[in-house]
Amino acid sequence: MKETEPSNNEREFLLQALKDGHRIDGRKFYDFRTLRLSFGSEFGAVEVQLGNTRVLAKVSCEVVRPYTDKPTEGFVHFNTEMSPMASSTFEIGKQTNEEILVSRLIEKALRRSRAIDTEGLCIVAGEKVWSVRVDIHFLDHDGNLVDAACIAAITALMHFRRPEIVVDNGEVTLLSIEEANPVPLSIYHIPICVSFAFFNKGQHVIVDPTYLEEQVKEGDMTMTLNIHKEVCALSKAGGISLEMDQILQCTRIAVVKVTELTEQIQAALDADAKKRNISRRK
């Protein structure tokens, strides 16, 4: 189904509000919407709600043979196919531009920034490695799918435990949860995406745009940072041109946001670990 453009009234109202220093949902310019994380009964299942945007991430793993040129490296795959559940503009088997952009950003943010230790996924070099798969399901689209998906994916990876293994003379045995405590993945850092939208020729910068704001925006930029103030990825695909100062200012905003979000994620994971009565490796 075709996307319906917002009406002129809606558009003008939003832009006028921004000029007066307001956003139509009552947030400040640099505020994120309320983030809610809920964990499933199994390890590695997380549902993220960012305002009305909902994303479900599920991590699973299997044992596979590694590539011959990288015998000690495991795999991490991301599946970000969007179903019409999120928005009827998405169609099965027909990728929209937005969809491609989101999946590339997630790949860049999590895989190419080497957040997950792929060498730690090796079982027997050249023979057996773990292949970790992250399925990201977009349930509801109210803007800023990238940030929500990124939070969902990294939280799910941190929540996930793979079964313990015993290697005996090249013979690999998987132990069930009853036999041995499952092992968390080793994660080097937590990359978090922060998306910005620009209005009125770049005069107004907002964080975490809603669907309506995304439709009206003149340009956007997504920054991926971690808590150590390291920039992992930066994506500015088109839209209006920005001054260098603006980008630096965005980085400063992003640092604050990333710290807040990381703390929230850690707190949610700690609370869940306490409920399950397991210790969490920091």
Partner: protein
Amino acid sequence: MARLDKSRTSSHQLRPFFTSQNLLNRADGSAQFDFGGTSVLCSVVGPAEVKIRDEKLDKATLEVLARPLVGVPGVKDKTIEQNIRETLEPLVLSGLHPRTLLQIVVQTMQDDGCVQSTAFNATMLALIDAGVPLNSILGSVTCMIDRKTNQVLLDPTREELAQAKSTHVFVFDNKAPPAQSKGDEDDVVMEDGDRVEGHVLFCESTGVFTEAEYFECYQVCYKGVQTVHGFLRTAVQKKFEKEHQQLQD
């Protein structure tokens, strides 16, 4: 006889239900339905614009998409899609919205057995939430026959399903059983007054079983579905009460 699922004492006991309706913002109707550890989310969009290829001149086109929790949709999901679509087609009064599309997306959120039954129930609640005209309400449960004990277990978990000789998915509508109805022509009156009879909308059995076992499953599921119907009714009622209250505030 003890079950593998330690939280239940009887073989004909269902897991606790949970439902949440109207939880998605972009869809016209949505509902989540849980059978214990199994959870399915369903969204409904419609009546909407239909592709000319799929357009039907006298009624709405039903499109069902089933999405698995892990991996890309496969044969299993296509089967669920087809089962849901074909069961719903006579139920939805699609003649009221000709040349439109009714799109249903079913997403598994957690899998602990009986996904298909959970999907049926979630779809029903989502359709009600979207305000799609229906001629009756369906309810679904799954049962299985244990390989070792030959016992019929209602609403099995994934662990229990691994021990199954056969599994049976039943969908019944909510029309009154003939014992209470005034003898409509299409109701089959049973000679045995104790046996209840409902309209089967859908039934899928896999595995090896005898005729007697099949009818036992049928009876067990029919009784189970009455609880589901009661629950669906209460869920919808509560939702409308809440909406009504919000309107008055």
